[in-house]
């Protein structure tokens, strides 16, 4: 199954709604970069509200796609990280430093606007 990527003005919106397996995560990485290329988007919001756990593999794929997007000139904000996910990620030893985050989608879009100087 592929994760839908929606275009909203100059941004891309992604809401991950189900548990990510390795293939879906890697496919998403590729799809997002193609979509940035295709649409000229300069901002991306990835919403994780429905995700109830993140392991080191998914964290690595997410961290990688954020850096890859940056290389292509797009800023990424991660939103909706649940308390249980924040706790397990830190205990696991993953801090996702330098990643822009917001509590929810609304605040994420605001942060993106600020970052893009709009």
């Amino acid at each position: 199954m592929r994760i839908p990527i929606l275009k909203l003005y100059n941004c891309l919106l992604v809401s991950i709604q189900w548990e990510l397996d390795d293939q879906t995560a890697l496919q998403f990485q590729e799809d997002l970069l193609h979509k940035i290329h295709e649409t000229n988007a300069n901002g991306v919001v990835i919403d994780l509200t429905s995700i109830d756990f993140i392991d080191s593999f998914i964290a690595k794929v997410l961290g990688d796609v954020i850096n890859m997007s940056k290389l292509m000139g797009a800023k990424v904000v991660i939103t909706g990280i649940q308390p249980a996910v924040a706790i397990t990620l830190i205990e696991l030893g993953i801090s996702l430093n330098d990643v822009l985050t917001s509590l929810d989608l609304e605040k994420g879009l605001e942060k993106l606007k600020q970052e893009l100087g709009e």
Binding site: D21, D52, F53, D55, S56, A84, E91, L92
Partner: protein
């Protein structure tokens, strides 16, 4: 009596199956949302280690009851290459696969009890327990 169910780990889909099994058992036992996430994540890391380093093995989930105290035990067994230096493998940031290196020390922090037995060339058995608070 302890009840055990196992998932054989051979493909990356089996990692998904193992963590789903673990999450279901954790839910049944009445673990809270945060502990469910800890258990699911720990299983995912252990199953992935088997998939990456040993290529096949199995993950078993056991319901435990110790004098009325309920808990969940994860047992991850493989007959892969084993771990040469367990102390090194338990250091944060150490990885031989270019991953995040969050694996074993991370799992230890997520769970209440953690035990590892490994002999080079023979395989690895990791046991981790989470008790209901």
């Amino acid at each position: 009596m302890d009840i055990q169910s196992c998932v054989n780990i051979q493909t990356e889909w089996d990692i998904v199956a193992a963590r789903q099994l673990g999450r279901n058992v954790a839910k049944e036992l009445g673990f809270g949302v945060v502990d469910q996430a800890r258990i699911t994540t720990a299983i995912s890391e252990l199953a992935r280690n088997i998939f990456i380093y040993a290529h096949k093995g199995r993950v078993c989930i056991e319901k435990m009851n110790d004098k009325g105290h309920a808990g969940l035990r994860i047992i991850a067994i493989d007959s892969g290459p084993g771990i040469n230096d367990i102390r090194l493998a338990m250091e944060d940031g150490y990885s031989t696969s270019g991953g995040l290196g969050a694996g074993l020390p991370g799992v230890k922090r997520l769970m209440d009890e953690f035990q590892i037995v490994s002999s080079p060339g023979k395989g690895t058995e990791i046991t981790a327990i989470k008790w209901i608070r």
